[in-house]
């Protein structure tokens, strides 16, 4: 036993004038940061255990609690920051890689916030979405170059498409990384709002089969839960090559999260670690990907679009072009801010590129090659609000995936401790004491409300631009102007500077 260098990250402040010692905080903290002293008949706190998830703060009936950064400071040093030092202490003590959850939180530029949206004035009318129809319907899937009509009928049916009532879907999040109640919340919200959610690589729990038509079923490197009924149940199939939070590395669901239901759904023994290899071991090149795409299409009788999800990396445009030519109907690109349940800290924070650049580059590249219509582009990786979506569509996206935002709607407070399995909000956990904290009816309502609200906001912004159908915004980069960007950045984004 040697000296621990660990100091609390957060300070729990309890206003003793307001605390009624009701112990709600004690009962709600899975990290045991609150306790009750029976002898003194009072509640106390242990700062060391606090992860700042706000569960206690939100539930405290007298608003007696608050959490702050622990005020302990090192000697000021712009280079050796407290975080750097603490992480070294931790690694020196454990010899392990640093794990974290959710997405990249480093202060890199957020390019969404360097783009501004246009609006109509005088020369064309803005449109009031409360009075005029405003269409957000979006189809994802391969589009033929042209249609042929014979005798008033289509000569050939369209390739399979996903039909979205708004250009937002719920990102891949697996049962295992999140709770079944969280899955149900998203699935029900997708059903209510006419969009889709994604199984991630966790398989499809039996309770969710009735919502298969709202499900994108993922096929990832571990092939967990993949079987004919699974493929048949989904509305689309997504091959996961990579994700923004951990480009180039695999996944690891620890055995303690593999309870009976996760085990059944993933088709792996109870209590065993679920290890997803870094690559698909049947895909070592683009032609292998083509084989998998067509195997899946064959397996489902060409009835469902096949998506390929990749992390946004340096030469994403060329990769995307290859994927389009390999037969994918949808390409999902996950930027470096994309979230996850668990990822090595250094990978999360230092690998990948911003989704804004990746999107602009891919859209331009596919148009240059004249194949943009052959695939739909879905982008992910920290889409935070409706304006991000409007900007993404204007840059060229067909739709976006939201993960973190959806979880925040369900109650996530971004404490980044998903990997501990002790999510106090019942989201990133399989502990039955915690999962029941998320009532999927409420979760579904909240997630659906978020989509509803964003739908209204997108319509407002579209109307402001004088546009009444989302497709007229797609790739319409004239609707964007850059602010605070270099010429090179403007050039990559394909937009003009504000004032131009």
């Amino acid at each position: 036993m040697s000296l621990s260098m660990a100091t609390p990250a957060f300070l729990i402040e309890r206003n003793l004038d307001r605390c009624i010692h009701c112990q709600v905080c004690v009962r709600q903290c899975a990290n045991e940061a609150h306790g009750y002293d029976h002898e003194e008949q009072r509640v106390y706190s242990d700062d060391m255990r606090c992860v700042n998830c706000h569960r206690c703060v939100v539930l405290c009936p007298t608003r007696a609690l608050s959490v702050r950064q622990f005020p302990l400071e090192f000697r000021a040093n712009a280079n050796w920051t407290a975080e750097v030092i603490h992480n070294i202490y931790l690694q020196a003590a454990t010899g392990g890689i640093l794990l974290t959850g959710m997405g990249n939180d480093r202060p890199y530029p957020i390019y969404w916030d360097h783009m501004l949206i246009n609006a109509s004035q005088v020369t064309n009318p803005s449109i009031d979405p409360l009075r005029e129809p405003m269409e957000l319907k979006t189809f994802l899937g391969r589009k033929p170059e042209k249609i042929v009509i014979e005798n008033g009928r289509l000569k050939e049916a369209l390739p399979p498409q996903l039909e979205l009532e708004l250009p937002v879907m719920f990102s891949a999040m697996s049962f295992g990384s999140i709770s079944l109640n969280a899955m149900k919340s998203l699935a029900l919200a997708a059903e209510a709002e006419g969009t889709y959610y994604n199984t991630g690589e966790g398989g499809l729990h039996k309770d969710l089969y009735p919502l298969g038509h709202r499900t994108i079923v993922q096929v990832a490197s571990g092939r967990f839960g993949v079987h004919p009924d699974y493929l048949a149940a989904g509305a689309a199939i997504e091959i996961k090559i990579g994700q923004g939070a951990k480009p180039g590395i695999g996944g690891h669901l620890p055995g303690e999260k593999v309870g009976r239901e996760v085990s059944e759904t993933r088709m792996i023994p109870e209590g065993t670690d679920a290890l997803s290899p870094a690559p698909h071991h049947d895909i070592y090149s683009i032609e292998d990907l083509r084989q998998l795409i067509y195997s899946l299409k064959e397996a489902t009788n060409y009835s469902k679009p096949v998506s390929v999800k990749i992390a946004a990396v340096h030469n994403v445009a060329a990769i995307a072009s290859g994927i389009a030519r390999a037969g994918a109907d949808i390409i999902a690109i996950d930027g470096y801010r994309g979230g996850t349940g668990a990822t090595p800290l250094r990978t999360r924070d230092h690998v990948g590129i911003p989704i804004e650049f990746a999107l602009a580059a891919v859209d331009s590249r596919l148009r240059d090659e004249g194949i943009r219509n052959q695939v739909s582009l879905v982008v992910a990786g920290s889409i935070r609000h409706s304006a991000d979506i409007v900007k993404a569509v204007a840059l060229g996206a067909d739709a976006v995936y939201i993960g973190s935002a959806a979880l925040i709607a369900l109650g996530c407070h971004m404490c980044q401790k998903c990997y501990t399995g002790k999510c106090n909000w019942g989201i990133a956990t399989q502990d039955p004491n915690l999962t029941k904290r998320l009532n999927p009816e409420i979760g579904a309502k909240r997630a659906a409300n978020l989509l509803k609200a964003w739908k209204h906001e997108i319509k407002e912004m579209l109307g402001g631009m004088g546009i009444n159908a989302l497709e007229s915004l797609r790739g319409n980069r004239l609707m964007l102007r850059g602010i605070g960007l270099t010429d090179r950045e403007l050039n990559i984004l394909g937009i003009k500077a504000a004032g131009e």
């Binding site: 109509s120 020369t123 064309n124 009318p125 449109i127 005029e132 129809p133 269409e135 319907k137 189809f139 589009k143 033929p144 170059e145 042209k146 249609i147 009509i149 008033g152 009928r153 289509l154 049916a157 369209l158 498409q161 148009r367 004249g370 943009r372 219509n373 204007a394 060229g396 631009m465 004088g466 546009i467 009444n468 159908a469 497709e471 007229s472 915004l473 797609r474 790739g475 319409n476 980069r477 004239l478 609707m479």
Partner: protein, 392 residues
């Protein structure tokens, strides 16, 4: 840019933007159009008179006309109308044209002096046919070849601009009020079975004649009132098909959309219209299944060709005219008939000015086209010219 084969590939070019194309200009306008469905020709006087009545809808910064059936003596020749900044540009262009075409006749377009029209460029026209060996080298259909040539000139040849390229038709346009432009071009001396006219109200002063309406490509012409909010989306989609929107005017996009859908993809006019001014999804949902499938497919495949924002247009072709509003009808458009004549205009008064007692006058609904075709033409695709590709 010219490839090793000597063939122009405009889509490989980075635009050397000058002239109007360097800035995108929103504008308001007056439009008018008329057709004699029996194919009987009318003098340009009516068209001038009609558009003149809507004087206040334009601001003197652009006016123009398209007329069909005006060159009966050269029915099979492409009638190229060009603006030249100077004779150097003209000579360079003529050499290019001679390289690729057999020019039957060429010379300045006759004009007369008019008060209020100044700064006119050199305005020439050439009646020409592509050289067969050039077609062979290009391995292209004749119409694609011509389009390519037009794009190349407009994009690459400094000081030259093709503003009309159809057969037995011509566009006449310039900076000024439309009635003055008509006077300037001596349109009273032409007779055509279709006339369209345009008066422009741009919100800046480009001072360049090529920016006026109509915009044409082959025998398609478009006069347009409105601003296309979807311009960026439409344009980037069209660029995938090789179109270069050098002028950044909305109308140019409209022309290319119809060129793509009608000429290159052979869609029926009705279908093309549904792509441009699509019915709302709520309307589609109420349609019978077959129709619903067709419209869903149109909106899915051609979603990027939906023209959003306020507009009214008159599309002219050798087969007829089509007038169309945006689907919400945010710009005025009135139609009227009398006998074999169909009139469309921004204002009813402009029709009554030349046809005081029409048999029927109506205001077309948003997205519902008014189509007037020659009686011996089917109201569908403009038939593509025969393929003349020769494989060696």
């Amino acid at each position: 840019m010219v490839g090793n084969d000597g063939w122009a590939r405009p889509w490989e070019l980075q635009g050397n933007h000058r002239r109007e194309g360097s800035k995108r200009i929103p504008s308001g306008c007056a439009i008018a159009g008329m057709i004699n469905r029996k194919g009987r020709t009318m003098s340009g006087v009516d068209a001038i008179q009609s558009i003149a009545l809507m004087h206040d809808r334009s601001n003197g910064l652009g006016g123009g006309f398209a007329a069909y059936g005006i060159y009966p003596e050269f029915p099979e020749h492409y009638a190229f109308h060009l603006f030249f900044d100077d004779h150097k540009a003209r000579e360079q262009t003529e050499s290019f044209l001679n390289q690729h075409f057999n020019i039957e006749l060429g010379g300045p377009i006759p004009t007369r002096k008019v008060v209020g029209i100044s700064g006119a460029p050199l305005i020439w026209r050439y009646f020409a046919k592509p050289k067969l060996e050039q077609l062979r080298v290009a391995e292209m259909k004749e119409d694609d070849f011509v389009v390519n040539m037009v794009m190349f000139i407009n994009e690459r040849l400094d000081g030259a601009y093709v503003f009309s390229s159809g057969k037995n038709m011509g566009a006449f346009k310039g900076v000024g009020y439309p009635e003055d432009i008509g006077e300037f071009y001596r349109l009273d001396e032409y007779r055509g079975y279709i006339w369209t006219a345009h008066g422009r109200f741009p919100t800046n002063t480009p001072g360049w004649w090529g920016g006026a309406h109509p915009f044409t490509l082959l025998d398609l012409s478009v006069v347009h009132n409105g601003e296309i909010s979807s311009y960026g989306a439409n344009r980037r989609f069209l660029e995938m098909f090789g179109y270069r929107c050098t002028l950044q005017t909305d109308t140019e996009v409209m022309t290319y959309i119809f060129d793509l859908l009608l000429r290159r993809q052979g869609l029926p006019l009705e279908t093309a219209v549904k792509a441009v001014a699509a019915p709302f999804w709520s309307t589609i949902a109420r349609m019978p299944q077959a129709q619903r499938e067709v419209l869903t497919a149109i909106r899915t495949v051609y979603s990027s060709l939906l023209v959003n924002g306020p507009f009214s247009i008159v599309l002219g072709s050798s087969q007829g005219i089509m007038a169309l509003n945006d689907r919400v009808k945010l710009r005025p458009l009135v139609a009227a008939t009398k006998g074999d004549l169909l009139y469309v205009a921004s204002e009813e008064s402009a029709i009554r000015e030349i046809c005081p007692k029409p048999e029927r006058v109506w205001s077309p609904r948003g997205g519902e086209p008014v189509i007037g075709m020659l009686e011996d033409a089917m109201p569908k695709a403009v038939p593509a010219p025969p393929v003349t590709v020769c494989h060696l």
